[in-house]
């Protein structure tokens, strides 16, 4: 080292030292603010989760998962929400099929054929659909399927209502992850002499699959908690049914019904327990979505 270099090195050292104590303070201060903010966000979360667990845990039992609402009794107790669990799985499953088929198709169209003149219109329609209140979606499906006697009050009608809510979520997720797939991947496929649709379906879509799966799971966790779109469509059913042409129960409907009709503290606890099961279900799908998107 020459003298001049040594000088600058010494200067640099003192310089960093003076700054670092101020910076340490700033760091600690900002860190504290962040911790405080996080705490404020977490408090309501813990309040909600805590209250649901506190009130509902006493009603959780094996019976609660293997018996139906029909078997509930204010006098003898018992009964469960199997009818609602099965109903939610069936209707959310129907909604998922509909959401994936239409949502992925539309998302591909928006992302891969963005030069098409209909794209802006479809994108706006999808965004508007996101904003329509769930209860309105329920009414519309009632008007389209039930009032017209195409179906009765049924799981299929409920599934369609939930599907309509899920579609824009999957459209958005699909479009966004497809846009993240680099253009040069598409070009590589095209340069092999493959038609565009094949490149899209066999090369681009798989590259985006984990993002689409994440979107689908978020869609599932969003619609599983919806009671409003089911009120005029699947109606609810205290019995366990598998036929999708019949009225069918669902977890959010059960929570709503049980909370209203509870005559005894035990039944009240059952309503809370229903909420707890619903919450755990949604929590699990969310965790699944996050693990999948992290693995990417």
């Amino acid at each position: 080292m020459t003298n001049a270099q040594e000088n600058t090195a010494v200067q640099a050292k003192t310089f960093t030292r003076t700054v670092s104590s101020a910076r340490q303070f700033q760091n600690a201060f900002v860190g504290g603010l962040i911790a405080l903010g996080t705490g404020i966000v977490l408090i309501p979360l813990f309040l909600i989760v805590g209250q649901v667990i506190f009130n509902g845990i006493s009603a959780i039992s094996v019976d609660f998962f293997v018996q139906t609402e029909r078997q509930m009794s204010a006098i003898t107790g018992g009964g469960g929400v199997l009818n609602a669990i099965v109903g939610t799985i069936i209707m959310v499953g129907l909604a998922l099929v509909m959401g994936l088929l239409i949502g992925i198709g539309t998302g591909i169209f928006l992302a891969e054929f963005s030069e098409h003149p209909l794209v802006p219109l479809i994108r706006v329609m999808s965004d508007v659909l996101t904003g329509i209140p769930a209860i309105v979606v329920g009414l519309v499906v009632y008007g389209l399927l039930i009032a017209t006697k195409l179906t009765g009050y049924s799981a299929i009608a409920g599934g369609v209502a939930l599907g309509l809510i899920m579609i824009p979520i999957i459209v958005r997720a699909t479009e966004e992850v497809l846009k993240l797939v680099p253009t040069n991947i598409r070009e590589a496929g095209l340069a092999l002499g493959l038609p565009r649709w094949k490149v899209t379906l066999s090369i681009v879509l798989p590259a985006a699959s984990s993002g689409i799966i994440t979107g689908a799971i978020l869609g599932v966790s969003r619609v599983s908690g919806e009671a409003a779109p089911l009120l005029f469509t699947s109606l609810g059913n205290p019995d366990l049914v598998w036929n999708i042409l019949q009225p069918m129960g669902a977890m959010p409907l059960s929570v709503y019904n049980l909370a209203f009709k509870a005559l005894t503290p035990a039944q009240n606890a059952q309503a809370w327990a229903g909420a707890l099961v619903l919450m755990l279900f949604i929590l699990m799908t969310n965790i699944a979505a996050r693990t999948l998107s992290k693995r990417r």
Binding site: E115, E187, A188, G189, L190, A191, L192
Partner: protein, 268 residues
């Protein structure tokens, strides 16, 4: 090097074979910007043709026009005629998918299919075109990987993701992928710029042997490479084709002083 420019090789092939590819008045625009200006050039069958010139002069742009890769670039436009065996590739009755099936391409940056294994990257072209015969696919994959000088390095891990390879290996994987579909014309955009000297030599040997079946157009920044592998060289400058000559002639006795300045390293 006693004979750096392979005079005989160039003369042997460049002047006798039939014209395979011909550009007539080809201009390529990005929006209003004319990136390639009224280029006229022809490449003969079974030759290697180098495109050289400073960065940004339009080499990639011209190369991508040959297999209609610009069709999907918003705002890009090609005018003039690009003929393959006398048929205009931009004719209204020509399907760009057919064009690309016959004219393969290796891109400037390696672009393996991200979700696919090494094997599937190479087999994808045939598989997606409907080939299901496993032993045929196996054969093509091995042959293509050998051709791209990658086989020895990956033969024990063909199921590993293509993206797990190093940059240079990925580029060779992309070369293998391009070879797998047996193109008649092969466009190569700086295929060896990310490779070590050994792999580069293997790829250059490959070009030499591929010439028997294929006509190659290669972009390169490496003058030695151009002189080693190519029969003709085209020098681009700011979108203009300044000179197109047999390689030996271009490097020993360029017609244009700008060519001379460039190949002697005075600019670019």
């Amino acid at each position: 090097m006693s004979n750096p420019f392979q005079v005989q090789v160039a003369e042997r092939t460049a002047s006798t074979a039939a014209i395979r590819l011909e550009a007539k008045d080809v201009s390529i625009f990005y929006g209003d910007k004319e990136a390639v200006k009224k280029v006229g050039v022809s490449f003969r069958s079974n030759t290697v043709n180098a495109l050289i010139g400073p960065s940004g002069c339009g080499k990639t742009t011209f190369l991508r026009a040959i297999n209609r890769m610009h069709d999907l670039t918003p705002g890009a436009r090609v005018t003039g005629q690009l003929m393959l065996d006398g048929i205009n590739l931009y004719g209204s009755d020509v399907d760009p998918v057919d064009v690309r099936r016959r004219i393969g391409m290796v891109f400037q940056k390696p672009n393996p299919f991200p979700t696919m294994s090494i094997y599937d990257n190479v087999a994808a072209g045939l598989k997606l075109a409907g080939e299901t015969n496993k032993s045929k696919l196996d054969g093509v994959v091995e042959k293509s990987l050998r051709g791209a000088a990658l086989w020895e390095e990956v033969k024990d891990r063909l199921k590993a993701p293509g993206a797990s390879l190093s940059g240079g290996q990925q580029q060779r994987l992309c070369i293998a992928r391009a070879l797998s579909v047996d193109p008649e014309i092969l466009l190569m955009d700086e295929p060896t710029s990310a490779l070590d000297p050994q792999s580069t030599a293997r790829i250059e040997d490959l070009m030499e042997s591929l010439k028997e079946q294929v006509t190659i157009v290669i972009v390169t920044h490496n003058m030695q490479q151009a002189s080693r592998v190519s029969d003709t060289t085209s020098f681009f400058l700011l979108g203009d084709l300044i000179e197109h000559s047999p390689t030996a002639q271009m490097f020993t006795n360029p017609k244009d002083q700008r060519t001379e300045a460039y190949i002697s390293g005075k600019f670019g």
